[in-house]
């Protein structure tokens, strides 16, 4: 059962005392319970100092219990910067403090606090920079002392995590405790998931308003996604036990939540409720993003989601606005919500003796509630004047003999490491009272969580009634509801939620609230939403509009927004006060004064200069206070205070979650298994996983030799394969290909190339005529995916009638190449494959084996007699087996991409991206002969550029070279030099066994190679070679220049 740090579990308790969870803190065993956050379990076990602050190393304690500051950032299971307030406790966790030397209670750097005068606002930009050479020294020292967690690179995810199954294993960040199957912390390893949602209404916030909005929308048949950051619905009703209308508030919240969950279980396609799911931002056209932290039952640790919504209801609720007073960062100073939830949600005793200093009725209610739970409340100061409080609450406090000091506020927390007493003063006027206490619960009132509103693009303005920022202009389809708008009465909050939900309904169904630009939409999501409700849409919209009218009255019948509290800082603060405006960045009131004095007197400038609001808390702790204090310093009315920009992510997800699940999406060829069985080593090549090598020899000598001497077989299935047909097919070919395509004949491959508008080579391949207005064409593997887009783009104005069908995945391709290729083919087909009947560049339909019809293309990319068989993918394995069997007597062996790369380079055949690049045109790489320069009618893509560039001098040209013997062996990418000047680079170079020398191709400035036919290549990359080597320019092809072998 609960220990001294615990309270008896009440009706709102979320902790299960029957399920103890052992974990360690600084190596010492601690026990928490299921339902605890790490911070609540630590607090219950007596931990009060959780960390040391960024700059001054001041002790810091539990402050918000909602992750609003970095006070409780800790290293959990070796993962730094875990927010202990937000991390669900699991058995076996190892928790450590960070930014401390040793125990946070006795941090060795604590002395720094006394030297704060050396660290004024913006000190990092101004001090220690002179003399400049000493800066790195200071910088390193500062880096060591400041900052938050340290990432241990040894704990990084292994490079060789399991791949392909889309599931990341429990590698890397492993639990030290080891119990319970490893860490389940938020940022460590574990399965990451992603989810893409569509909704008519996305509701941000699962409090009373959000749930009411969701119910209103769901009742009208709209698809609702509701996102709640806590693990349960109910918002601030969840922990309140106050009686309202004869029912405890938490019961009211539970009933509301139960209604929504009931709708969800009945129609899960209509309502989707996501708990433990903070929203990170809202983007263009209502794309709501966020993540869900997996509970024990979820198959993931963290799931990123994106929800495209027609409308968004923002009901994100409120949070405490901190009160800025002397030493308001002392452990023992806590926000109202933190103390209250600690007691009510986690059954943790916040303190023995407490003093309250608040600015909102919720604070008074909290004081009564804690008194009820046995915490001795010495006094309650309320910054508002007497008469503005809920009289019922004041009476209840007086009934318990708790002094209520209206118009008073905390001015100082006393105590070196922890609060031992506090000082209260009147907001206006003299005097002070001192109270012994171990907890000072303080806020300046409540402030709306404006992050989502700012992210959605709402225009905000200061409202002097609620003393908060309120939207004055909302983007289309966005509605606001709930306590954010200043409402406190539960009935008002629910009515405002219902109203927002109904506004969303009318907006989705094309009602009056429909934003401009959506009315005329003809298709897509819009149409689907209306289609679904086609029959009922008009009636529903009317009903919704009628209903929308009634809660409006309803809302007016209930109390409206309550007047807020405008206290900016505690009384008698003094200009040198260590009163913290921002806890994360150690930004004090004094720093704000300094910042303003130096001219950085608006919040956006002060933010950059002093770091206020830059830390993990972002706007939350610092934002509104900074704006209000700055306005006062400038002498402006508080209405002029504009907050700093809130930037997403509003709640930080882990980077691993943003990176997503580790699924490597790639294609495999139909022959993947066959290649693997023969020892293929696969590498990614574009969209495909392809066999690159068949042995550990990266030079592929055996594979190359076998193609040159016997016969090799290559799986070239990723080759782009297309059919283009229709009356205007030839016109399209004429536009896209640089050659004259009118001459494309039946049974014969026409080799040509595609250029872009700059005359650069973008693709090459062959075209065969297969019938009337019917052609078959191949593209390079990497280009297959964009070919359809390319054809259609360049003919988009013409209205031509043609169809282009991508057959790349439908057809596999097997290439047999080598002197014995014909002998192999003869054994598997009865068709005529003789040199006379099937010459070089021929294309035939042949029948293979037991009747598989194949397109057979006689090409010579690798420079040998070669046949390429295009067969339906499902037949590839059959044909492969057939060829392997038939080729056994002729030494057939598979070869991979690397061997093909070398073989084609010996022939001087270019590969796009290897021997061509953005600076060179088709003619520069020696392929100008493909260009039909007479044609000006077809408007060939690239032709004008080729014409313009052809006359230019000094362009880069592709040249072949032979490395001079004994002078070294440069590598791919080595630069070509002329004296001290770089004039080009080596594209590809290999040592050829067939030739007996090292050949290569280089792009070099025109004319350089002309001089003596020699180029100079630097080769520092080659070990032991410091001098440039020379190479003789040799026109490609290097191997079989007459092309006898491929014609044989």
């Amino acid at each position: 059962m609960a220990d001294a740090g615990r309270l008896p579990p009440g009706p709102t308790c979320r902790v299960d005392f029957l399920r103890p969870l052992p974990f360690t803190y600084l190596g010492r065993p601690v026990t928490g319970f299921a339902g605890d956050r790490v911070a609540s379990a630590l607090y219950a076990s007596g931990i009060r100092i959780f960390s040391r602050s960024l700059k001054y190393h001041r002790p810091r304690g539990l402050y918000s219990m909602e992750g609003e500051s970095s006070n409780t950032f800790m290293a959990i299971d070796g993962v730094p910067n875990e927010c202990a307030e937000m991390t669900a406790l699991r058995a076996g966790m190892s928790v450590r403090a960070q930014n401390v030397r040793g125990d946070p209670r006795t941090d060795r750097f604590a002395f720094i606090d006394r030297f704060d005068r050396m660290m004024p606002a913006g000190f990092y930009y101004r001090l220690f920079h002179r003399p400049y050479r000493l800066w790195p020294l200071f910088q390193n020292g500062l880096r060591r002392m400041a900052g938050t967690g340290v990432l241990d690179p040894r704990r990084g995810l292994g490079k060789d995590g399991p791949r392909g199954d889309g599931v990341e294993a429990e590698g890397g960040f492993r639990a030290e405790g080891g119990a319970g199957g490893g860490s389940r912390g938020r940022m460590g390893s574990g399965v990451r998931a992603e989810r893409y949602l569509n909704a008519d209404v996305a509701v941000v916030g699962g409090g009373a308003a959000g749930v009411s909005a969701a119910l209103a929308a769901a009742e009208n048949g709209l698809r609702v996604c509701l996102f709640e950051r806590r693990g349960w619905l109910g918002g601030h009703l969840d922990w309140r036990t106050r009686d309202f209308d004869g029912v405890a508030l938490h019961r009211r919240g539970e009933a509301l939540a139960a209604r929504l969950l009931e709708v969800q279980s009945r129609s899960p396609e209509i309502v989707k409720v996501f708990t433990s799911s903070p929203v990170t931002g809202v983007w263009g056209e209502n794309l709501v993003t966020g993540f869900t932290v997996g509970t024990g039952d979820d198959p993931f640790r963290e799931c990123h989601w994106e929800c495209r919504a027609e409308t968004v209801v923002v009901a994100a609720g409120c949070m405490d606005r901190p009160l800025v007073f002397n030493h308001n960062d002392r452990p023992g100073v806590m926000q109202v919500g933190a103390a209250w939830r600690l007691a009510r949600t986690y059954a943790v005793r916040p303190a023995r003796v407490a003093v309250f200093s608040v600015g909102d009725d919720l604070g008074l209610e909290a004081a009564i509630d804690l008194a009820e739970l046995g915490v001795e409340i010495r006094a309650v100061a309320d910054a508002r004047e007497a008469g503005r409080q809920d009289p019922e609450l004041v009476a209840a406090l007086e009934e318990r003999s708790i002094p209520v000091l209206s118009g008073w506020a905390a001015s100082r927390a006393i105590g070196r490491r922890r609060v031992s007493a506090c000082e209260l003063r009147p907001v206006n006027g003299a005097g002070s009272r001192r109270f012994q206490c171990d907890l000072l619960v303080a806020n300046a009132g409540m402030q709306p969580r404006i992050g989502v509103l700012a992210s959605v693009g709402a225009r905000l303005a200061y409202c002097s009634h609620t003393h908060s920022y309120q939207p004055i202009e909302l983007p289309p389809g966005v509605f606001v509801a709930g306590s954010m708008t200043g409402l406190r009465d539960p009935r008002s909050i629910e009515a405002s939620g219902r109203l927002a939900g109904l506004h969303a309904v009318t907006c989705c169904l094309g009602g009056a609230q429909k934003p401009a630009g959506k009315g005329a939409a003809t298709g897509g999501r819009e149409a689907k939403a209306t289609d679904r409700h086609a029959a009922a849409s008009v009636a529903t919209a009317r009903r919704a509009a009628a209903a929308a009218a009634s809660p409006r009255h309803d809302a007016h019948a209930h109390p409206g927004p309550v007047a807020g509290c405008d206290i900016r800082q505690g009384p008698a603060i003094g200009r040198g006060a260590k009163a913290f405006v921002d806890l994360d960045e150690d930004g004090t009131y004094k720093n704000v004064v300094e910042s303003a004095r130096q001219g950085f007197d608006v919040p956006e400038l002060a933010k950059r200069f002093g770091g206020f609001g830059l830390g993990p808390g972002q706007y939350r702790v610092a934002g509104q206070n900074l704006a209000m204090i700055m306005a006062e310093m400038r002498g402006d009315p508080v209405e002029a205070a504009m907050p700093t920009t809130v930037r997403p992510p509003l709640v930080p997800p882990s980077l691993a979650t943003l990176a997503g699940p580790n699924h490597d999406v790639h294609k495999r060829t139909p022959l993947h298994g066959e290649l693997a069985a023969r020892g293929a080593i696969f590498r990614r090549a574009g969209a495909w996983e392809r066999a690159r090598y068949f042995s550990e020899d990266r030079a592929c000598r055996d594979e190359i030799r076998n193609v040159r001497r016997n016969v090799g077989i290559l799986d070239s299935s990723p080759l782009g394969k297309f059919r283009i047909f229709g009356p205007d097919a030839l016109k399209a070919l004429q536009r896209i290909y640089i050659s004259d395509m009118r001459g494309v004949r039946h049974g014969r491959c026409k080799y040509s190339a595609m250029c872009n508008d700059m005359g650069q080579l973008v693709d090459d391949g062959v075209v065969v005529r297969e019938g009337e207005n019917d052609y078959y064409l191949t593209t390079s593997s990497g280009r297959a995916g964009t070919t359809v887009e390319w054809f259609r783009y360049h003919t988009r104005y013409d209205g031509w009638d043609y169809n282009l069908v991508n057959l790349t995945d439908v057809l596999g391709s097997l290439n047999i190449a080598g002197p014995n290729a014909r002998k192999v083919l003869e054994r598997v087909t009865g068709s005529d494959v003789s040199n006379g009947g099937f010459p070089y560049l021929g294309c035939r339909r042949i029948t293979v084996g037991d009747g598989v019809e194949a397109r057979c293309l006689r090409l010579g990319f690798v420079g040998e007699l070669s046949f390429e068989l295009h067969v339906p993918s499902s037949y590839c394995r059959y044909v492969w087996d057939l060829l392997i069997e038939a080729g056994a007597d002729f030494g057939i062996q598979p070869f991979g991409l690397e061997a093909q790369y070398c073989l084609r380079a010996e022939k001087g055949h270019v590969i796009i991206g290897a021997e061509s690049e953005a600076r060179v045109t088709l003619t520069d790489i020696g392929m100008g002969w493909l260009w039909d320069r007479e044609d000006t009618v077809s408007k060939k893509v690239g032709a004008p550029a080729l014409r313009a560039c052809e006359k230019q001098s000094g362009r880069m040209k592709l040249v072949g070279f032979r490395v001079d013997d004994g002078l070294g062996s440069p590598r791919d990418g080595a630069v070509v030099i002329d004296g001290d000047e770089i004039v080009g680079y080596v594209c590809t170079t290999r040592r050829s066994e067939a030739l007996g020398w090292q050949y290569g191709m280089a792009l070099v400035r025109e004319g350089v190679a002309g001089r003596g036919g020699r180029i100079h290549i630097r080769q520092e990359e080659t070990p032991g070679r410091q001098e440039p080597c020379t190479a003789t320019v040799v026109p490609p092809p290097f191997y079989d220049p007459e092309g006898r072998r491929l014609r044989s």
Partner: protein
Amino acid sequence: MTFRLTCPVCGKRDVYEFTFGGQERGPRPAQEGLSAGEHFRWVQFRLIPGGPQREWWYHGQGCGVWFRVTRDPATNREVEGGGGG
């Protein structure tokens, strides 16, 4: 950056499904007598209207159609009546 586009075939879809095809710049000029300057101006030159402009988009993750929309790059939204075509 995220927004939606109205494909003339598929309707309103997420921009992730589309490829940008540049500003509308008129059909490919006739090549007979076309100077290099004119050609490169057509290829490279863009106006920045600072407001709604006609654009080409390709629905690559959908139906595969090239279409024109009028869109305001300042707000990323399609402009009324600027749907597909």
